[in-house]
């Protein structure tokens, strides 16, 4: 299948209000790497919950980690979900990495659905997981060092992912504002090229960098 790729300059243009392109590899690869680190940490916790290893590594809270990971709260989550919460965390962080890695360097316009799916995986789910980790510590009365590390990573991922999600949402908002057409908005969301979509993207790119 022969494919014509747009000129490199078009794919790498900075998107105001940022002085950079939020879909650039230099912006996304660190997210993927950090998400993989969090996935590895969650895998370590999962192995303990599955009984494959005898203890959880914790240089700060010692045995408290085991209490958190095997707490009644964790068991209740297992009863609801069917897999351990740490395994679910591993999948969620893998999802961050996978969805962060997919798409070209102009995916904020070419595949807004992918950026928004990535944003949903990173931002609301990340914030919920941080709240759950903190609540778990308060309810159980014990703290888990690695859980707190993954919570900090989640917050960093939220901060790093926000610019791209914002730009993609702004692009869709401009398509709507300039055309008031649900059909065009639908096409823009799924990455179907239209003249109106291109015009909205150009008006976004022409904005002043703050």
């Amino acid at each position: 299948m022969s494919r014509t790729v747009p000129a490199p300059d078009e794919l790498h243009r900075p998107v105001p209000p940022y002085p950079h392109n939020p879909s650039a590899w230099s912006q996304r690869i660190p997210i993927c790497v950090l998400a993989m680190v969090a996935a590895a940490i969650s895998t370590h916790l999962s192995l303990y919950q599955w009984g494959f290893i005898d203890g959880v590594w914790d240089p700060v809270f010692g045995n408290q980690s085991s209490q958190v990971v095997t707490s009644d709260t964790a068991k209740r989550m297992f009863a609801i979900i069917g897999i351990h919460d740490a395994a679910l965390g591993t999948l969620a962080y893998l999802g961050d990495a996978i969805l962060g890695f997919a798409g070209s360097t102009r995916r904020w316009q070419y595949r807004p659905w992918l950026v928004i799916l990535f944003g949903i995986d990173v931002i609301p789910l990340g914030i919920v997981s941080v709240i759950l980790v903190i609540l778990q510590g308060m309810v159980v009365g014990a703290w888990c060092f690695l859980c707190l590390i993954t919570a900090v990573i989640s917050l960093i991922l939220v901060y790093w992912a926000w610019d791209e999600v914002r730009v993609s949402l702004t692009f869709l908002w401009l398509v709507w504002k300039q055309n008031r057409s649900p059909a065009l908005l639908w096409k823009a969301f799924w990455g179907t090229p239209t003249d109106e979509g291109d015009a909205a993207a150009e008006s976004l790119l022409a904005r002043e960098v703050k």
Binding site: I83, I98, A102, S104
Partner: protein, 119 residues
């Protein structure tokens, strides 16, 4: 096409799962996992052919089925059913990844080609 490659690798894992989890004596589990793995691989393979390039989207249905089967076949789910849930959730993420995911979508590339040809 890395998404499709990962789907096939996941299918291999699923086909081997009954032996890894020690339930190879359960014929229905071996058949279920093998046929599901075959379906995932076929859909991933069909995605390489342009007329059926969106076949991988159907993997979303298989993935949903895997999650539901793993969750509700037995309660609480034994390890091999937890594996079904985990594989299903993983496939839900992978199956949405477009072919040639690192390049602009085909529609944009074709549009650019038409614009280039018109000059």
């Amino acid at each position: 096409m890395w998404g499709r490659v990962i789907e096939v690798m996941t299918a291999v894992w699923l086909a081997l799962s009954p032996y890894i989890f020690g339930v190879q004596h359960q014929d229905h589990t071996v058949w279920f996992d093998s046929l599901t793995a075959l379906a995932i691989s076929v859909l991933a393979g069909l995605s390489y052919w342009r007329p059926t390039r969106h076949a991988h989207i159907l993997t979303l249905l298989i993935a949903t089925g895997l999650v539901l089967y793993g969750r509700f076949a037995e309660s609480p789910p034994p390890p091999w059913h937890q594996n079904h849930i985990a594989v299903g959730l993983f496939l839900l993420m992978i199956a949405v990844i477009p072919n040639y995911a690192s390049e602009p979508p085909l529609a944009y590339s074709q549009r650019l080609r038409r614009q280039t040809d018109s000059f």
